[in-house]
Subunit: 187 residues, 2 copies
């Protein structure tokens, strides 16, 4: 069973309050829609800061959400000298503290930085159609010259979804995977 | 069958001529022996340069060899805007051009930059003992929270070897593997 891959570079989701603190009156605009319905890469970028490091030009994904969340790779985490947990989006309890610096202000998050888990977005219809119903985790094979099988890929069922697997840049670069490449799901 | 992992950060091997061009009279000293017999992390560092990017503070591994070779990850390759092939050490025909900048001079390599293949160092005795004799490739499982099975791991038999699997920082970071962690070989 084939699945298309979306590679997620480091990015930030903002709640309304943090958006206003960081960007003031600057409007959040759609630069490029992403495959998940309603989601988009915005025009806004900020700087991530910790005691040990700095990463500039990190893009905001829109629209605003109920929570502020920073998603980075392990490679990014080494640069920042932090050790974020592997988590699903929104599961932020006990995740890493980090500071966001925008053109209008700063936000000190006591938690909010994670390494996103490997996951597959699916509607209930997709899950039924592809035999993923009731499954929580699968394995996905990539047959590149430096490929292999990625374990612990979480199935995420929601009504407003585009059927796609999301991996971070570490998984993509390690396995020589690019956006739109295909993997094979093992149940 | 368990195997211990060595994570290789980006590094450079130099031949005598290029060493002298780049470092002049600066002696190459042992900062830290590495597990492969006679090999060491040296005191010397240089800058990698391409038309599109720069990476500073890249360590030289000693001693000098018959050939100059630059080993980077795919993540590094994106920074440099190049597309090096996946290769075994010493297999440099048609590999990426790159410029080396040292404190004493520069070397423009028309080829020499690779992404190292995943490989296992073994003596003939190791190969016999672990049942790897005659095999060219194996798969290796890592059971981390973001682990999986790495395919296309080449067996490299040589008399002067320490039994160990070498992966690059992309494989390490994607699978949350650190130096000295253990994998399981599948034949």
């Amino acid at each position: 069973m084939e699945i298309s891959i979306g590679v997620s570079n480091k990015h930030v989701h903002l709640n309304q309050k943090d958006y206003e603190t960081l960007f003031g009156d600057i409007p959040m605009e759609v630069v490029r829609p992403i495959n998940q319905p309603g989601q988009f890469a915005s025009n806004l970028k900020l700087t991530l800061k910790t005691e040990k490091g700095l990463i500039e030009n990190v893009r905001i994904l829109g629209p605003v959400r109920d929570y502020t969340q920073v998603e980075i790779s392990k490679t990014d985490a080494y640069k920042l000298g932090i050790n974020p947990p592997i988590r699903a989006s929104g599961d932020l309890e006990g995740s890493s503290p980090i500071t966001l610096i925008g053109p209008h202000g700063e936000v000190n998050l006591s938690q909010g930085c994670i390494i996103a888990d490997r996951h597959i977005h699916a509607t209930e219809e997709d899950a039924k159609k592809y035999g993923l119903e009731g499954l929580q985790k699968v394995k996905v094979l990539f047959e590149s010259e430096k490929g292999g099988v990625l374990y612990n890929v979480n199935i995420r069922v929601a009504s407003n979804s585009y059927f796609e697997m999301h991996i971070d840049t570490d998984d993509a670069n390690a396995n020589l995977i690019s956006n739109g490449d295909k993997g094979t799901i093992y149940k």
